[in-house]
């Protein structure tokens, strides 16, 4: 095969494919079925030419151009393209609940870890109130002894608007750390679940010792139930992610990783906006002593029930149950 003649004969096809790829890229990969079919057929011929050039004329200008065309064509013609347009309605009605159901066993596991840690910490704090010194620091511990709860400072230290934003962004960061920590073979989500359980249990134990547990519960009733559940959902998502990394199955690792990463991401991304709502509740409702505990408890339950209704609207029977 003579190089010059071959290039001359095949060049019109390469020019055509290059023009079609350029047009497709300009339109954001959107093209009619006919255009797609014609490009796909022409692209296969270009790939065959690329294979010939690679074998017969490696390193030549023709081989380099065909390699470049092959790469650009693969980008336009292949990929994880979902034909359905993203809508929030579809995401929260179908994608998010399905993902949440997929990780129910992981949610149960982190919840169990959280509860065990909370119980142990509460018992430890009841047995040794000095533990509160470590949890709260000297100033807050001293204030507690004098019958003042540190949560009162939330309304005085910063304006509620700033506090709401600070709380929401901090909680979102915790949720993202819990989830992303799944890449460390699940250590991140386990750590977040255990530490949060131990903190809650420990603080309840210490405040109970000083007769302030009721006041603490009064503070957390409105935002606590959903906040804890969201942290557990993120930790569960982190464990689900970790399962894709460490689980021994007969499926290719890359596919398993992608599947677990995709499902766990949906859970975390779908849960993040709820932290904004919680930030507002925690800054504006929770620190108000004038509001009756029954109202706060009702608000907390309504928030949790709303989230559960959205996250598990197809039932609790696992990913395939509809």
């Amino acid at each position: 095969m003579e190089y010059g003649r071959w290039v001359e004969a095949r060049r019109p096809l390469w020019d055509e494919v290059e023009a079609r790829i350029g047009a497709a890229l300009k339109r954001g990969n959107r093209m009619s079925f006919d255009d797609l079919e014609e490009l796909a057929l022409a692209y296969r011929r270009v790939l065959h030419d690329a294979a010939v050039a690679r074998a017969r004329f490696p390193g030549s200008a023709a081989a380099r151009r065909l390699e470049r065309l092959g790469i650009r064509g693969a980008y336009v013609l292949q990929g994880d393209l979902n034909p359905e347009r993203f809508t929030f309605r579809r995401f929260y009605a179908r994608t998010f609940p399905r993902a949440c159901r997929s990780m129910l066993p992981h949610l149960r596991l982190v919840t169990a870890l959280f509860l065990v840690a909370a119980l142990f910490a509460a018992l430890a704090a009841l047995g040794s109130p000095a533990l509160g010194l470590r949890l709260l620091g000297p100033a807050r511990f001293e204030a507690l002894r004098e019958g003042k709860l540190w949560t009162e400072s939330l309304v005085t230290a910063a304006p509620p608007g700033a506090a709401a934003s600070g709380i929401a962004t901090n909680n979102m960061s915790v949720a993202l750390v819990a989830w992303a920590g799944g890449t460390l073979a699940g250590l991140g989500p386990i750590y977040v679940a255990v530490v949060n359980g131990a903190l809650l249990g420990g603080l309840l134990g210490v405040t109970y010792h000083f007769g302030m547990a009721g006041a603490l519960l009064g503070f957390v009733l409105s935002h606590g139930p959903l906040e804890i559940f969201l942290v557990l959902m993120s930790s569960g998502a982190g464990l689900y992610l970790a399962q894709g990394i460490v689980a021994a199955t007969d499926r290719p690792r890359a596919r398993l990783l992608r599947e677990h990463a995709a499902i766990s991401t949906v859970v975390v991304v779908g849960s993040l906006p709820w932290f904004l709502l919680l930030g507002l509740v925690e800054a504006f409702v929770s620190p108000q002593p004038a509001l009756p505990p029954a109202f706060k408890a009702a608000l907390g339950l309504v928030l949790l029930a709303t989230y559960l209704a959205v996250a598990f609207n197809g039932g609790w029977g696992g990913a395939d149950a509809r």
Binding site: R54, S60, R68, G79, A162, S165, T169, T183, R258, H260
Partner: protein, 233 residues
């Protein structure tokens, strides 16, 4: 600079070499993006302060909106731009980098979200080491999303030989084409020397190629253009 290449078998099992972006170029793109994120966050704070004061908002709300906006910019910047710019960001665009799937295709928005939300832990400590030791220079987010970052090939035409002597293969063609592409930017003496060497080589093995070619006073590269009937490809 292209650090390495990954051979991916595409349709019909045809291998293509994807020019992978390594730690250096990706780090530089990340630094540019981080600079933009920092400026955008500061700009957002100034804008909120200006607009908030004008609208009579309290300092608490102004601070709250500023903080929330900065958080969203920090986490949303990469996701937003990689989806809008089809696998690129302003920083990547400067270095001509693009995110693709491990099969060479267009990554889904979901995959782009995964690779960017997984920046926190993996990218600060473990991620850079993982990238440095991974043959495909992937960080944890890339592994989980099934993505790669490649250098986009420059879209400039190259020079192709229109005719070659009988028996020539890829090595000879690539050598002459590479010389002709660089002849103008090489040091003049070196450019002439290499060109003369190729001409002597032709005189010895394929003198018929030089029949009817006037070499008098011409740069060897000009002569070779005529001999090989070079075209832009």
């Amino acid at each position: 600079m292209i650090e390495s290449a990954e051979t991916i078998r595409t349709l019909d099992n045809v291998p293509l070499e994807f020019p992978l972006a390594g730690v250096a170029s990706r780090g530089l793109a990340f630094a540019i993006d981080t600079l933009i994120v920092s400026f955008a966050s500061v700009f957002w704070f100034i804008a909120v302060m200006g607009a908030g004061s004008g609208a009579g908002l309290g300092l608490g709300w102004i601070w709250g909106l500023g903080l929330l906006g900065a958080f969203l910019i920090q986490w949303g910047y990469f996701v937003f731009f990689e989806i809008r710019m089809r696998g690129s960001t302003p920083g990547k665009n400067v270095l001509k980098l693009r995110v693709i799937t491990s099969e060479g295709g267009t990554p889904s928005p979901g995959a782009l979200v995964i690779r960017n939300l997984l920046r926190l832990i993996p990218d600060t400590f473990v991620g850079v080491i993982l990238m440095a030791i991974d043959p495909m220079a992937r960080r944890a987010g890339d592994r989980l999303a099934g993505t790669l970052v490649i250098h986009e090939a420059p879209d400039r035409p190259s020079l192709a030989l229109g005719t070659i002597p009988h028996g020539w293969g890829g090595d000879q063609v690539a050598t002459v084409e590479a010389y002709l592409e660089r002849a103008a930017v090489l040091q003049p003496a070196i450019s002439v020397e290499i060109g003369e060497r190729i001409l002597r080589w032709l005189m010895r093995d394929h003198p018929e190629m030089l029949d009817g070619i006037d070499r008098e006073g011409k740069h060897p590269a000009t002569v070779l253009h005529e001999v090989f009937r070079v075209e832009r490809l």
